[in-house]
Symmetry: C2
Subunit: 153 residues, 2 copies
């Protein structure tokens, strides 16, 4: 099948498939005479695997690790389990951070419960004072816990 059909059956955009190939997540596809990529069931299975992992918010690096296990079926799967455990921990951590953030925001919101002149708005005043807003628990350096702001999947 061609890339468009693969995209249709896996629900992944054509450009994203090409991107995954560039990134080495999908093996380089064979080509037709006219230089079109051709795919088989194998590709579609692998792509579904990737898609499932992405739905679970894994990074491409994490997926690369899982794919290596998938590609060596005789190996021990302990690494899979611990990768998942750590990923779960990231998610749990992030939930905790966001709960704190929510709390801070609600407290801040309390400081202005009417609409008035901006000059007297409690929120703006709080935000203006330095060190008024306490630091939230730091996100990890390794880039593995992201923002609440996110583009659509």
């Amino acid at each position: 099948m061609k890339i468009g059909e693969l995209a249709r059956i896996t629900g992944i955009q054509v450009e994203t498939i090409r991107y995954y190939e560039r990134e080495g997540l999908l093996p380089v596809a064979g080509r037709t005479e006219g230089n079109y990529r051709i795919y088989s069931e194998d590709h579609s299975e692998r792509l579904s695997f990737i898609r499932n992992c992405r739905k679970l918010d894994m990074t491409l690096d994490e997926i690369r690790v899982l794919l290596r296990f998938k590609d060596s079926p005789q190996e021990n799967c302990g690494g899979v389990n611990s990768l998942l455990d750590e990923h779960i921990r990231h998610v749990t951590d992030r939930i905790g951070e966001l709960r704190q953030l929510e709390q801070h925001l609600r407290e801040l919101r309390q400081t202005c419960n009417k609409t008035q002149e901006a000059a007297h708005c409690g929120i703006l005043n709080e935000l203006t004072q330095s060190n008024r807003v306490s630091e939230d628990r730091k996100h990890r350096i390794d880039g593995h816990v992201r923002n609440i702001h996110k583009t659509a999947v």
Copy 2:
């Protein structure tokens, strides 16, 4: 004061300050003879404001809105309140999403409770099956709800 001192007292990196200037969050600074930026208390206050907002995970666009209110003190602050309300909603939504995600991940983790050959690992098998992983609630299109994976603040 020069940019380095401003960075020190606000806790914001030098490059970030220059970035904020480029982005129009900070007014363009005056210069010394040697072409160094010079700053006053006003700048440091404004920068602290921005820093507080960033600690609360607001986007630069949101901060731009708040700054406009700060710059027109006679205006009604209702817009501030509703911006905050919406931001809180984003955070709450994201917490809900992450809780679902956590649940999915824990269920998946259950499917392999021992270390064995990767070929028989329940996790890898589950991930391989298409549509086995249900779609999480979609993140918003407007780019306002992000990943759990995040670079350090």
